[in-house]
């Protein structure tokens, strides 16, 4: 998933009160920042690849596992319970959003078996080929577009822009 991650992160922030037991308000700046940072956190594994510190095969490994989700949740828990809940939800949804890729995710790391729903072929971790290749396939349009439609409905239900 590429652009669809934006919609998915916003949709998560639209459920902030439900996910945090009312600690964080719907579509608040806090909910948006936490959802976005947590949602993008797994993809920061491309930074060491760009810096040539890690190999290409490092992408979609530790950062896309339940161990990583638990670690982030446990780090945030003593700081802010609401942030921890929202971050865990955002991370799990990130894993679900990436699961349809043919490359699969080793969600049970350190067990390296990869799990995939295999709806679209993997096109690499970054760059123009990865971006263009993603949108040459049917399921990406359907799921990513669908995420934006869900965001539209949530914005309407919550009365935020463009529904003020």
């Amino acid at each position: 998933m590429q652009v669809g991650h934006v919609a998915v992160a916003f949709v998560v922030s639209s459920f902030a009160p439900e996910l945090t037991g009312g600690r964080i308000a719907v579509f608040s700046l806090e909910s948006i920042i936490v959802s976005f940072v947590a949602h993008w956190l797994p993809n920061f594994d491309v930074i060491p690849i760009w810096l040539k510190i890690a190999k290409d095969s490092f992408h979609c490994t530790w950062s896309h596992s339940l161990l990583f989700v638990a670690a982030v949740g446990l780090i945030l828990l003593p700081i802010n319970v609401g942030w921890a809940s929202l971050a865990v939800a955002s991370l799990i949804i990130h894993l679900m959003a990436d699961m349809p890729s043919s490359v699969g995710l080793p969600i049970l790391m350190p067990w390296r078996k990869r799990f995939t729903v295999n709806l679209w072929a993997d096109t690499g971790h970054s760059g123009w080929v990865a971006f263009k290749g993603t949108y040459m396939q049917a399921w990406t349009w359907l799921l990513e577009g669908g995420a934006f439609v869900v965001l539209f409905v949530r914005a309407y239900q919550e009365g935020v822009w463009p529904f003020i």
């Binding site: 095969s57 072929a121 040459m136 439609v149």
Partner: protein, 75 residues
């Protein structure tokens, strides 16, 4: 991409937008023309995926990408 694919996406997208409006629009709080148009555009984007299921080029693209391993170690 076949010429009929975007056309098919527009037709399915229109039907999808109407369905979303019928399901989610609250009485006394109708969508404005602009909001309806935005919804239609989002539904067309989503429907592109459905239309591409009937486009052999999309299937071919997936098959081609499946042959490539982007994480193979470079020698």
């Amino acid at each position: 991409m076949l010429k009929r694919t975007p056309l098919l996406a527009n037709i399915i997208g229109g039907a999808m937008a109407i369905l979303v409006i019928l399901i989610f629009e609250e009485p006394g709080r109708p969508f404005t023309m602009g909001q309806g148009l935005l919804l239609y555009l989002l539904c067309v984007v989503t429907s592109m995926g459905i239309a591409m299921f009937f486009d052999p080029n999309a299937k071919k693209a997936k098959e081609e990408f499946l042959k490539i391993n982007f994480y193979e170690e470079k020698k």
